[in-house]
Structure formats: structure tokens, C-alpha cells
């Protein structure tokens, strides 16, 4: 269980410059048994929020707790919370194995855990004895995962864990996190890629410009993403929907409608337009919603 309550953090105060509000009254909960996806564009405040939870960045206001306590109050945090914030933040001069041994010693675990973890993340003995400076980002990511999982924590916090992993590695990570949550643990992972999160997350927390813009189960957010409708005469359908006062946007081979499927069906029937397709917009709609929700902060300035 992770609880973030009203956390704010700004940077660059003083010198008369305007403070950058990186995180603005953020609140959300990540629950046991579920994978919570923390989604937002670059610079939205994801990492800062996770750093506050991990106790590495002091919040200006608000609080974050893990298992009901601030992380600093946990007697041996490593065996309760596994954290991977930045896979490249590892001493380049140590071997991968030595990096794990230091964590193993700190947490007070048996030495055998090191070999178990190396096997779990598929780092060979040969790779483990290389210095981290010679690791690819994907290998560092695996090493970071190994550190996070070593203490068998009931809470996992991962910032962009799929970065640098190849497709097979991403699939492996996804299965591992799914399995970890299924055993009753809390998993919170961030990403700026909707598709990456969508396939694994149960709950979604969307952040844009330092604020939470959407928060709910994946199903809820998917169903709130509108309805996809297609007809032979799209223009007529669009006209009828607009006449009924329903929001419509064009898509490939159909329309994304801001209404329930029932309502879209009734409007089409009343207008005498035979429908070819009618279904929840689902992931395409979620992506549309994600882009719109975060439009303010998108560097590309997506037209909403």
C-alpha cells in the first residue's frame, strides 16, 4: 500500500525567478494485489513524486507513506519496499555482483539471495562479474530490478523500468510485475508510454503538469474514453450525432463519440443511419484521452 497525500514540490525558488511547481497537490493510492500505472508525459512530475515516496526528495507540503509509514520510519526499508528510480544510478566501478552484495549485506539477507536474484533477472555469472560501466542500459535495468526485489518487499516502486529493455525483456518485466501483484503485493510503476502501462496495469493514475488529471481502474478509464462508431455514410452519422449535441471526433474508418454506445445507437436509429460498427473506443480512446488530458504539458502541443 502506497498513499500519497497532497504532495507538492517546487524547484528554483529564490533569485526572484518563478518557482517551477514540479508536483502540485498530488494524491493517490496504490493498493495491494494491483499494479498501479503512473502515467504522464516527460516532465509531468512522475519521477519527483516517486522520489518523494522513496524519501530521496523532501516534499514542500503533504506526505507519502508506504505500508502506513513514511519510508524513513521503516526499520529496514529494503525488505519492505523495493525501489528502482534510475537504473543508471549505480557505481560504474563495481561489478554487478558486488552491487547486489552491498544491498544484501545492508538488508541483512543470506548471501545466497545474490545468486538467486542474478538468475531471476537473467544476468549470467560472467555478466555479474563485469563492472557496471560496461553494462547496457537493459542490463543495468535488470540489476536495478534485482536490487529492488532482493528483500522480497511487499511494495515495489519502479520508475520507467522498461527503458532500455528489448521486447523480450519488456515482456519478461510485465509478467514478473503481474505475478508479483497477483501474490498480493503493491506495484507502482511509471511510464510515459500508455501502451506499455495499459497491458499490465490494473489501476491508472495520470499526471500532467504536476497534477493528477485522471485516476481510476483501467476499465473505468477505458469505458470513459467514449464509443467507436462506424457507418457507410460517416458524414451523415457525424451530422446526426452533432445535431444531438454529442461530442464527435474523426478517426480512421469511424468516429470516436463522447457518449455511451446505447445513446449512439439510438441517435443513429432515429436518423435512419445503419451502423457498421459500435463498440467502446477502448485503448484508442484512452490514448486520445491521455493526449488530451496532458495536452497542456505535451511538448509537441497536440491539438485537443
Amino acid at each position: 500500500m502506497i498513499t500519497v497525500s497532497d504532495v507538492s514540490k517546487s524547484y528554483g525558488r529564490g533569485k526572484g525567478g518563478r518557482a517551477l511547481l514540479a508536483v502540485d497537490h498530488v494524491s493517490f493510492t496504490a493498493r495491494p494485489g494491483r499494479v498501479t500505472g503512473f502515467l504522464g508525459p516527460n516532465g509531468a512530475g512522475k519521477s519527483t513524486t516517486l522520489r518523494v515516496v522513496a524519501g530521496l526528495t523532501p516534499a514542500d507540503a503533504g506526505s507519502a507513506t508506504v505500508l502506513g509509514e513514511p519510508i524513513a520510519a521503516l526499520p529496514n526499508p529494503g525488505v519492505q519496499v523495493g525501489v528502482l528510480l534510475d537504473a543508471s544510478a549505480q557505481h560504474a566501478g563495481r561489478t554487478g555482483r558486488e552491487t547486489l552484495i552491498l544491498s544484501q549485506l545492508t538488508m541483512g539477507l543470506p548471501r545466497a539471495r545474490v545468486a538467486e536474484m542474478l538468475e531471476l533477472v537473467s544476468l549470467t555469472a560472467d555478466e555479474a562479474d563485469r563492472r557496471v560501466r560496461n553494462y547496457s542500459l537493459g542490463m543495468r535495468q535488470r540489476l536495478g530490478i534485482a536490487t529492488a526485489l532482493m528483500g522480497e518487499p511487499e511494495v515495489l516502486i519502479l520508475d520507467e523500468p522498461a527503458n532500455g529493455l528489448d521486447p523480450a525483456g519488456i515482456r519478461w518485466m510485465r509478467d514478473l510485475l503481474r505475478d508479483y501483484a497477483n501474490r498480493g503485493n503493491t506495484v507502482l510503476l511509471s511510464s510515459h508510454l500508455l501502451h506499455e502501462i495499459e497491458v499490465v496495469a490494473d489501476d491508472l493514475v495520470v499526471i500532467g503538469n504536476g497534477r493528477i488529471v485522471a485516476d481510476g481502474t483501467k476499465e473505468q478509464l477505458l469505458s470513459s474514453a467514449g464509443t467507436f462508431a462506424a457507418a457507410a455514410d460517416l458524414d451523415a452519422l457525424q451530422g446526426a450525432l452533432q445535431a444531438a449535441g454529442v461530442g464527435v471526433s474523426g478517426g480512421t474508418g469511424g468516429l470516436t463519440v463522447d457518449a455511451e454506445a446505447d445513446q449512439v445507437g439510438r441517435i443513429a436509429l432515429a436518423a435512419g443511419i445503419p451502423l457498421r460498427e459500435l463498440r467502446p473506443a477502448g485503448s484508442a480512446g484512452l490514448e486520445e484521452m491521455f493526449l488530451q488530458l496532458t495536452a497542456d504539458t505535451q511538448r509537441e502541443g497536440v491539438a485537443a
Binding site: 521503516l74 544510478a89 557505481h91 566501478g93 552491487t99 545492508t106 501474490r183 503485493n185 481502474t217
Partner: protein, 285 residues
Amino acid sequence: MSSNETLVKPEPNAPKGIQMTTATVGAPRRTAAAPAPIPFARLAKVELRKMFDTRSGLWLMISIAAVAVIASIAVIAFAPDSAITFQSFAAAIGFPMAIVLPIIAIMSVTSEYSQRSGLTTFTLVPQRGRVIGAKAAISLLVAIVSMVVAGVVGALGNLLGAAIAGVDTVWNVSVAQFTGIVLANVLGMAVGFAYAILIRNTPGAVVAYFVYALALPTVTGLLAGLQDWFNTARPWVDFNYTVTGLFDKLPDGGQGWAQLATSGAIWLLLPAAIGLRQVLRSEVK
């Protein structure tokens, strides 16, 4: 959407198919007792290991013994027979040691920041003061062991040098003098450590230490020569000057110790206190 109101309110106990069979949402998975706190000895052991487990760290440690041996050989090779005394060896070994030990202390702190391994270290041990304490304790241990090693190497050099030169061995360093040398090196290392927690960056802290140890004495020495008042005040405010005096002898009265305390408060305790405060409060990037 610009407000932070939620689009969709999450249902606290939304049914989620098979996951619900293995987990009770909202309740902790385990009811096991809280894990035991991490003992300080364990942190110290980890910090000791970190001093040796990188190539640069290992070579710094080896360099302690190496400079002691090289300095002893240099004394035997170049010093006149009359200078083959234990004091010559102690002085020759002591100078490079005063450079190497602070660098070891500095790197133990700054590598957590420069190499960013602090992200893991301070996540596993959020009480950062305990980590800094463990590093300080291990730095002190390294200093004392190094001085013992240096003393042994110097003694062997003295025996060997006297035998080669065909003169009597001269043991002209008293226990008090040796204690003074150890104290001077420990204090120098402590200054390096203090600058490390204040600056938290390897090159920055090393430069700051060298300015303190090598550049500043020239300036203060010049000032003391020109200004009478500073010459009087110098032992009270110039820590480097006071500590350097320890290489000759321990203070023989309360005033000497008081001078060590006042100058140490300025150059060691103040930066250490500010540094510790910053370590505890700052972001670990």
C-alpha cells in the same frame, strides 16, 4: 483538464477477477512482525567493503602501503647516514599519507553522489546520518590502521637503512610524538571528510581540501609575517597551522589544546555541521 479533481473516482474494492482470490484489497499481505532495524555494525561493514570493492578504492588502499615503502626506500637511498633515524622515516611517510588519507575519506562520501550510488544507499537506509556516521567510523579505522602500517614500514626501513649504512639504529620518535602524528593525520582526514559532506562532489571536495592543506598555509604564513596581530592570533584560528604543529609534538599545555579546539571549530566542526545538515535535507539526485 487543469484541476486536480479526479476524472473517475476509483472504487476502493472494485472486483478484479482472479486477483481477488489471492489478495484482500486494503489489508496487508503479511502480518509478520516488523523487521529488525539495521544495526550500525552492519552499516559499518558495508562501508568498509565499499572502500575496497572498486579499482580506484583498492588502489588508494594499496597506495597507503606503497607510499610508505617508496618513501622508506627514498630515505635509505638519498638521506645522509646521519639522517637514518626513525624520525626521518616517519616524516617521509607522513607527508604523502596526509594527502592519501583525506582523499580516501572524501571519496567514501562523494562517490555516493558522483557515482549516484547514493540513490540505493539512502533508499535502503533513509536515516542518512547513520550512513555518514558509518563512513566516518570506517575512515577513522582506515586512518589508524594506515598509521600502524606506516609505523611498521618506517621501523623496518629504519632497521634496514641503519644496517645498510652501517650506523646505529636511532629510535628518536617518542610515543607522544607518534600519537601527535596519528592525531594530525586523523584530523586532516576529518577535514577532508567534512569538506566532502559539505560539497558532495569528488573534484570539488578534493580541490577544497588541497586549497586548505596546501594553498592556504602559504597565504596565512605570508600574512603572519606581515601582520603582528595575525601572528599572535594564528594558532587560534589557523587549524592547518595548529595541526601541522602536532607532527612535531603534542600540545604541552591547556593553551595548545584550546588553540586546537578553537581553530578546529572553524575549519572542521563548522563545515561538518553545515555539511551534515545539508546531507540530511538535500535531495539525493
